[in-house]
């Protein structure tokens, strides 16, 4: 049977990383990792998996490739079991394979948890494999670059300290042509909420900042954005396995909110950023809950609509479908609020199946899309199941409140000629709302 060894893809970062390793080094780091960071969860998962294969059908990689080496349990078999069987003493080439599986063949989407009777969290096991690879210095080139950027600049895209306020000012100026009284309030202490976004927004999706400002302006809310590092809520270090940088990034984000004495943080339409802020990094920092409450845009828009702060001139008439991003659905249970917002905006909603918590992942998340061009094809071909799911709806518009999902879905849509377009909630609200003079 084919295994990961039969589909290795050359990546400079991985190749350079394994070049520095020996079996002894690997074993030392593996043992330290297991002794230091793994506990009862890992032990139970390693011991009790009954190899029943029920999780196979959970994973879009398996459902698309129909190759047994892509099932959740096969990914664990080709990585963690192998390492445990050898007590960590493996050939550097094995680490190359582990890294390719862990970084590029699992989105940590947690769909398999709905399939495994024992509740084995494959996403967790795979993230520990990534942690090992990170400690061994074996990470894909592209995603490592974003982690370096986090560490050097506290944002993901090498945005310089002066570029950030410049970009906001530029968007403010643009928007003031449409809404003369509009402001993008920078560093306003005591505002109701801090709005944080991912670094790709100021870098190349500035219209999203423009739209958010327009919506907040129309809704008449009190908000601010930080002028200092901490404005970027994304966190690729979480996905490379670099927990130390992950925690620094998250601390900066929360501290920006605390410095501004806001009541809460509202996060833009991104899934993985929400996972980092809400679920992962807080634990690494030793905080059970969040020093400042955080809400995702889906929930925030829902609130604005509930309060009657957004009024529409008309509804979107063409049929739309909804993609449930794992990180805010399986990760935060926003499925019903998302639907209420979409139904408020659109007349004709066609659900894809399966949906809500059972939705298939877009195959971009978990840092996979960030591993860049070398792995792009596997990721797109590896999600023909999603293409079929989209196609079956027969609609031309797909709403997805997550950046990564947009990337992943757009790739699938063009590869499989689906004649579809993706939309953020912000896109639609901006397009449909009553705009103040």
């Amino acid at each position: 049977m084919k295994t990961i060894a039969d589909r290795l893809i050359e990546d400079e970062g991985l190749r350079r990383g394994v070049g520095r390793l020996t079996p002894e080094k690997i074993q030392k780091v593996f043992k330290e990792l297991v002794a230091g960071e793994c506990g009862a969860r890992m032990k139970t998962y390693m011991e009790t998996c009954v190899r029943c294969g029920m999780c196979a059908k959970a994973c879009h990689y398996y459902m698309s490739h129909k190759d047994p080496s892509y099932t959740p349990v096969a990914k664990v078999s080709q990585t963690m079991w192998r390492l445990f069987d050898a007590d960590g003493k493996v050939d550097p080439e094995v680490i190359y394979q582990c890294a390719q599986v862990a970084y590029t063949e699992c989105n940590l989407c947690r769909r398999c948890i709905h399939y495994c009777p024992l509740g084995i969290d494959t996403g967790y096991i795979i993230s520990v494999v990534r942690r090992l690879c990170h400690k061994l210095g074996v990470t894909p080139q592209y995603i490592q670059d974003t982690a370096h950027s986090h560490s050097a600049t506290m944002n993901q895209m090498w945005v310089k300290d002066d570029e950030w306020p410049d970009t906001l000012q530029w968007q403010e100026e643009e928007a003031r042509e449409e809404f003369p009284g509009l402001r993008i309030p920078l560093d306003v202490e005591g505002a109701d909420f801090m709005y944080s976004v991912i670094a790709p927004e100021p870098k190349f999706r500035t219209q999203l900042i423009y739209q958010a400002a327009a919506i907040f302006h129309a809704a008449g809310v009190s908000w601010t954005m930080p002028a200092t590092p901490g404005w970027d809520n994304s966190n690729m270090a979480m996905f490379t396995g670099d927990s130390e940088i992950m925690a620094r990034v998250e601390r900066a984000h929360y501290e920006a909110a605390q410095r501004l004495r806001v009541k809460r943080i509202v996060m833009g339409e991104c899934g993985h950023a929400f996972r980092a802020v809400y679920d992962v990094a807080n634990r690494w920092l030793g905080w059970k809950w969040h020093p400042v409450p955080v809400v995702h845009s889906v929930e925030f828009f829902w609130e604005l609509i509930q309060q009657g702060r957004i009024k529409l001139t008309h509804k979107f008439a063409e049929p739309v479908t909804i993609h449930d991003p794992c990180n805010v659905i399986r990760g935060r249970g926003l499925m019903e609020k998302l639907r209420e917002v979409v139904h408020f905006l659109c007349d004709n909603v066609v659900e894809m199946t399966p949906n809500r918590e059972h939705n298939y992942c877009c195959c971009a998340g978990g840092g996979v899309i960030n591993c860049g061009p070398p792995f792009k094809n596997v990721r797109i071909v590896g999600n023909s199941i999603k293409a079929e799911q989209l196609k079956a709806t027969g609609v031309h518009w797909c709403i997805a409140p997550c950046h990564n999902c947009h990337g992943g879905l757009d790739d699938i849509i063009s590869k499989f000629d689906l004649n579809m377009h993706t939309k953020f909630l912000g896109d639609l609200i901006y397009e449909l709302m009553e705009k103040p003079e």
Binding site: M1, E37, C38, G39, A40, R41, K43, T44, Y45, E47, T48, C49, V50, R51, C52, G53, M54, C55, A56, K57, A58, Y62, P68, S69, T71, V73, A74, S77, W81, I113, H114, Y115, C116, P117, L118, G119, I120, D121, D279, R283, W284, G286, K288, I329, R330, G331, R332, G333, M335, P354, E357, H358
Partner: protein, 219 residues
């Protein structure tokens, strides 16, 4: 052979039950201690109401997405596991032994029913064996350990059935059955069969995360 039989139903049976019970307690307690020591940031989220809500779905046939999408395995595994507990606990042959040695007795299943259920278990094992050999995604992840635990369970039930039907030398078959049963009991705390001990907790934990942190169902 008689001596071996006496040994098997006497001291070895004591030993097997002791290892099974004490071993299970030890495994559970030491896993708990490890969790408290190393997984504090995860133990903190355990929520029994959410765990129980999810477990109710998971112990219901077709009550979870994984069961619905794997109907064959679901039917077989539910039959298998139910019979696995019901047969040995309510088997006349077993109750008689407890009665003889300890004077304990409780209602038994009619022999014919127990026999049928035992055969169901043997057939279920055959099904698992077939899956391991021919379903690619199962075969890909099968290791020697999996054959071992399946063989322990299968052999115990098969020899039990053969002994009951007086197939082969009865004393030999019964002795073999008792030894297999004891080996299986001893294996529960220390092999993959420990999923019996830990399964509810691993499911309950992830259900707590989903229920109390992520507000999403996990079934």
């Amino acid at each position: 052979m008689h001596a071996l039989y006496d040994l098997a139903v006497g001291p070895l049976a004591w030993l097997a039950f002791a290892v099974f019970i004490l071993g299970s307690i030890y495994r559970l307690m030491s896993m708990r201690a490890l969790a408290l020591k190393k997984d504090a940031a995860f133990v903190a989220y355990i929520s029994w109401p959410h765990a129980i809500r999810s477990l109710i779905h998971w112990v219901t046939p077709f009550g979870a997405l994984g069961w619905r999408e794997n109907p064959g395995v679901t039917i077989v595994t539910f039959l298998f596991h139910i019979c696995l507990f019901v047969v040995p606990l309510f088997l006349m042959g077993h109750i008689v032994l407890f009665d003889t040695f300890h004077g304990w007795s409780w209602p038994a299943l009619p022999d014919g029913v127990a026999d049928t259920l035992s055969i169901v278990v043997v057939l279920a094992c055959a099904y698992f064996l077939w899956r391991r050999l021919s379903v690619p995604e199962v075969r890909f992840v099968t290791r020697s350990h999996d054959w071992l635990v399946l063989a322990l369970v299968g052999a115990t039930f098969l020899t039990g059935v053969l002994a009951y039907h007086r197939i082969g030398d009865n004393l030999f078959m019964t002795t073999l059955h008792v030894l297999c049963g004891e080996a299986m009991l001893v294996a529960i705390p220390f092999t993959r069969l420990s999923h019996m001990l830990f399964g509810f907790f691993s499911r309950g934990y992830i259900a707590s995360e989903f229920g109390s942190v992520r507000f999403a169902k996990d079934w």
